[in-house]
């Protein structure tokens, strides 16, 4: 596989990641969200493997496998179990309506391209053009957390953000050192468990997973 092909594959996978990110932004159903998240993880894992092959950075294979195990298998499974246990079937409610969110998302992508343009000119890596997408994914993840009211969707937004960060790390510098990645992976896993516990608590306290309810915690003046 020569450099050009690799760069094309990398760009394609980056496009898919961004597409799934937008998909999550508009997806109203919670199962759909989890599926999209799984897809995003898979693209990410593939991308990591491709980059590892091209740059002959062999520790990236380990990252790739880790990503596959965690973000494609473990986390979606945990989320499925959670949703099943908590009996959430409703459609996800959004704070801002979907077309507006989409427009904001588009603006964020443009902004990311603008912001990363100086880096694109300086960098020599084949993955340099995907850095803008990575940044856009992070921001869209954050946007998702802002526009959704359901606790589970907020977590998915958070995980999507982490995907974006991971993607940024591979595309900007061919990945972080393995130790760091192992640490991050462990963090993710722990975070998922903690979220699970908190979901149950929020659910029992408020009888709902709508984070708007938490405004009730605020002390009145």
């Amino acid at each position: 596989m020569d450099m050009m092909t690799a760069a094309h594959i990398n760009s394609l996978l980056a496009a898919m990641v961004l597409l799934t990110a937008f998909g999550m932004l508009v997806q109203k159903r919670i199962y759909g969200l989890i599926h999209l998240f799984t897809w995003q993880g898979l693209f990410l894992s593939l991308n990591t493997a491709v980059v590892g092959y091209v740059a002959s950075q062999h520790h990236l294979y380990i990252s790739s496998v880790l990503t596959l195990a965690l973000k494609v298998i473990a986390l979606p499974y945990i989320l499925h179990v959670l949703i099943h246990r908590l009996k959430i079937h409703k459609e996800v409610e959004t704070v801002v309506n979907i077309p507006t969110t989409m427009l904001i998302g588009l603006a964020l992508v443009v902004l990311s391209y603008h912001l990363t343009s100086p880096i694109r000119e300086l960098s020599t890596l084949i993955t340099r053009s995907t850095l803008a997408i990575a940044l856009a994914t992070v921001m869209i993840g954050l946007l998702m957390m802002i526009t959704r009211r359901h606790a589970v969707t907020q977590i998915i937004g958070f995980l999507a953000m982490e995907n974006g960060l991971f993607f940024a790390a591979t595309s900007a510098t061919y990945g972080m050192p393995l130790v760091v990645e192992l640490g991050v992976a462990l963090d993710m896993l722990i975070a998922a468990f903690i979220f699970g516990i908190f979901f149950f608590h929020i659910h029992t306290t408020f009888d709902s997973l709508d984070v708007e309810q938490m405004a009730r915690l605020k002390e009145d003046e």
Partner: protein, 680 residues
């Protein structure tokens, strides 16, 4: 190692710290703990006093660098005559108060643990000594905070009462706002001394620096603000009448007597030593604030009927008088009149010593009264002179001293300040020609009002009959307390009748800081006659006056007591009314009524008279109730708005707290975006 003042001073501080550390080792043997700890504190104070007297007397300056501090920023110490002078003041009063405390703390009810009192008392003393010794901004501020923190806990000693907690909190807030100002001022000076490095934090570097006028002004006013907050200069005095009365009386004596003096030390050190050249209008501002503090302090003191609050307001007054001296010295220095500057400077510092001793004495006396009667309200006292002859005699000496009556020490320093006012030639600045005579008049007014106030304080507390509803078992103070007060009173007398000796000793300060001395003229006629400038202008002999007064007193006593039948005890003449009771005596409120009428617009006064339910006819009410509330105007004018603005701002900031996760996420999101866009 040769014994020198600095090592003595260091011994004193270490001894105090050790005493503080060992206080918890007595395992509940309260009597032993109190006796040993305060005895050790007395020894340490004595050492400090000796070190101070020695340094001033030998006119030497010793410097040192301590092996502690931050990495590369060790603590510097310096023991020069100015430090020695303040060491003497603090050490002397601390000695008296520590002896007094042996008795006083013993009398605190047994169910209240006093270990914390002892620990913080020793830390407080050590902090004050360290402030004086410090020769760099870092050590100074550390010591300053030790002092402020320890005194906060001392004010909080009886913490179960809400007013005490409020007073302590107010004190802490004011102390810290002041500390921030001092910190900023040192930052300005250090930054100019050595731009771009930290080595300017020593006072030596600041002394050598050429400071531009603008920054010198900024530094001076920051420092003055900071120290004025500590000293209780009007309008920053509000914490003082709250915090001093609620602390245990031995602590009040120290706080009022010497802690305020560390602020005076700071002002003198920074102004005359570190900045050392200044325009005249700084002095004019110091003088004006001193005058306002003196007059307002004494007027508010007159309105009080709580004995310790009254004394606390008098601290405001006396700090004002000290600042008058310092301010005049600054004005004269900048107009290059070193003789007059020396006179004013000596007057200010003399009064610093005097105030420490007589205010300490008065607070100790108030403590004895409080100890014996459990009462702070003068309206409930009276006739204590029969039960507490020692305390009342010693309290009377304090009253005479603070009222600036000859032959005691208060007179000497206020007289010197007057001389500085009266001898001042017409200064080139027109506003000074207005300010100087007016200042002299206000100082005179202050003296008169102070005398009136202490006639009230002594008369209502010790003379007449007991006014309270229930009569407690009143007992005289025990021996350690008496010794403490007696030695303070003796010091007052000595400072009053040997002023020339004292001025000769402290003259080195004037020589060092304002470039002239007054001992050559002041002591020109020997130790007996004090002649600040020349005998044609003014002269005073404390000893002669003392002997004269003593002669008259002895003669009167002999006349009354030697002849039999010269004194007869009979019932009080009741104008034929026959139903006199103790409530019909002159009270503190009624005594100050004329002055309240004259100066009424300076206070916010609320008077209420209400008649109790009628019995037979309107003209014969059974009871009449009179309520009087005198509130510090400054509180409503200055502090209330600041507090309101603070609360308003916090409410506005509180609006950020939506309680919604989305809102918080938006904050971070917007922050990230702004940073990305503008920082890239």
């Amino acid at each position: 190692m040769m014994l020198q003042p600095l090592s003595l001073a260091a011994c004193a501080i270490v001894l105090l710290l050790l005493t503080a550390g060992s206080a918890s080792l007595y395992r509940g043997n309260r009597r032993l703990m109190i006796m040993f700890s305060f005895a050790l504190a007395s020894v340490a104070s004595l050492l400090a006093t000796i070190a101070g007297i020695w340094t001033v007397g030998s006119e030497m300056t010793v410097k040192g660098i301590l092996p502690i501090g931050l990495p590369d920023l060790p603590f510097h110490v310096r023991f020069d005559p100015l430090a020695g002078y303040f060491f003497t003041i603090i050490g002397l009063l601390a000695l008296f108060v520590s002896v007094y405390s042996i008795g006083y703390v013993q009398g605190i009810p047994a169910n209240r643990p006093v270990t914390s009192l002892i620990i913080f008392y020793c830390l407080f003393l050590a902090g004050m000594f360290m402030v004086i010794l410090a020769d760099d901004a870092l050590f100074f501020l550390v010591a300053w905070e030790v002092m402020a923190g320890a005194s906060y806990f001392l004010v909080l000693f009886e913490h179960e009462r809400q007013e005490n907690r409020k007073a302590a909190f107010l004190y802490l807030v004011v102390a810290h706002i002041g500390a921030i100002a001092i910190l900023l001022a040192f930052g300005v000076l250090a930054g100019i001394a050595t731009p771009g490095s930290f080595s300017g934090y020593t006072f030596d570097a600041m002394r050598g620096a050429e400071i531009p006028d603008l920054w010198a002004t900024v530094a001076f006013f920051l420092v003055f603000f900071g120290f004025a907050a500590k000293a209780g200069v009007v309008p920053l005095h509000v914490w003082l009448p709250e915090a001093h009365p609620v602390a245990p009386s031995n602590v009040s004596a120290l706080m009022s007597g010497v802690m305020l003096k560390t602020a005076i030390y700071g002002i003198v050190r920074v102004t005359f030593d570190l900045i050392h050249t200044f325009p005249w209008w700084w002095g004019a501002i110091v003088l004006t604030l001193g005058l306002i503090s003196a007059v307002m302090g004494v007027l508010y003191a007159l309105m009080q009927h709580d004995l310790k609050r009254l004394l606390a307001y008098h601290s405001v007054e006396n700090i004002g008088i000290i600042l008058i001296g310092i301010g005049l010295a600054m004005i004269f220095t900048s107009f290059e009149l070193p003789m007059l500057a020396a006179l004013a400077f000596i007057a200010g510092l003399y009064h610093t010593m005097n105030h420490a001793i007589f205010k300490g004495l008065l607070f100790m006396g108030a403590g004895s009264v409080l100890h014996a009667t459990g009462e702070r309200n003068m309206e409930e006292m009276g006739g204590l002179i029969h039960r507490m002859p020692w305390t009342s005699a010693l309290f009377l000496i304090g009253c005479v001293a603070i009222s600036a009556l000859p032959p005691l020490n208060g007179f000497v320093s206020e007289w010197l300040t007057f001389q500085a006012f009266l001898l001042s030639p017409s200064l080139p600045a027109p506003i000074m020609q207005l300010l100087i005579p007016m200042g002299a008049a206000m100082l005179a007014l202050t003296g008169a009002l102070a005398a009136a106030c202490f006639v009230k304080a002594f008369g209502v507390t010790f003379l007449g009959h007991w006014r309270g509803h229930h009569h407690p078992h009143v007992h005289e103070a025990d021996w350690p307390m008496r010794i403490g007060m007696l030695s303070a009173a003796l010091t007052c007398v000595c400072l009053g009748i040997f002023p020339v000796v004292y001025i000769n000793w402290m003259d080195i300060l004037a020589k060092q800081f304002v470039g002239s001395s007054i001992s050559s003229s002041a002591a020109a006629y020997g130790w007996l006659w004090l002649t600040p400038v020349s005998p044609e202008r003014a002269s005073y002999s404390g000893t002669t006056v003392f002997l004269g007064i003593l002669g008259v007193v002895v003669a009167v006593y002999l006349l009354l007591h030697v002849r039999p039948g010269a004194i007869r005890r009979v019932p009080i003449w009741d104008c034929g009314f026959e139903k006199l009771n103790a409530r019909m005596q002159y009270t503190a409120t009624s005594f100050s009524m004329p002055i309240r009428r004259i100066f009424g617009h300076l206070f916010s006064i609320r008077e209420e008279v209400s008649l109790a339910p009628q019995t037979a006819h309107k003209a014969f009410p059974k009871r009449l109730q009179y309520h009087l509330r005198v509130v510090d105007r400054v509180w409503n004018w200055m502090y209330r708005p600041v507090v309101d603005v603070c609360f308003w701002l916090s409410r506005q900031v509180g609006r950020l707290q939506q309680g919604r996760i989305q809102a918080y996420l938006i904050y971070s999101f917007v922050t990230i975006l702004v940073l990305l866009v503008f920082a890239s």
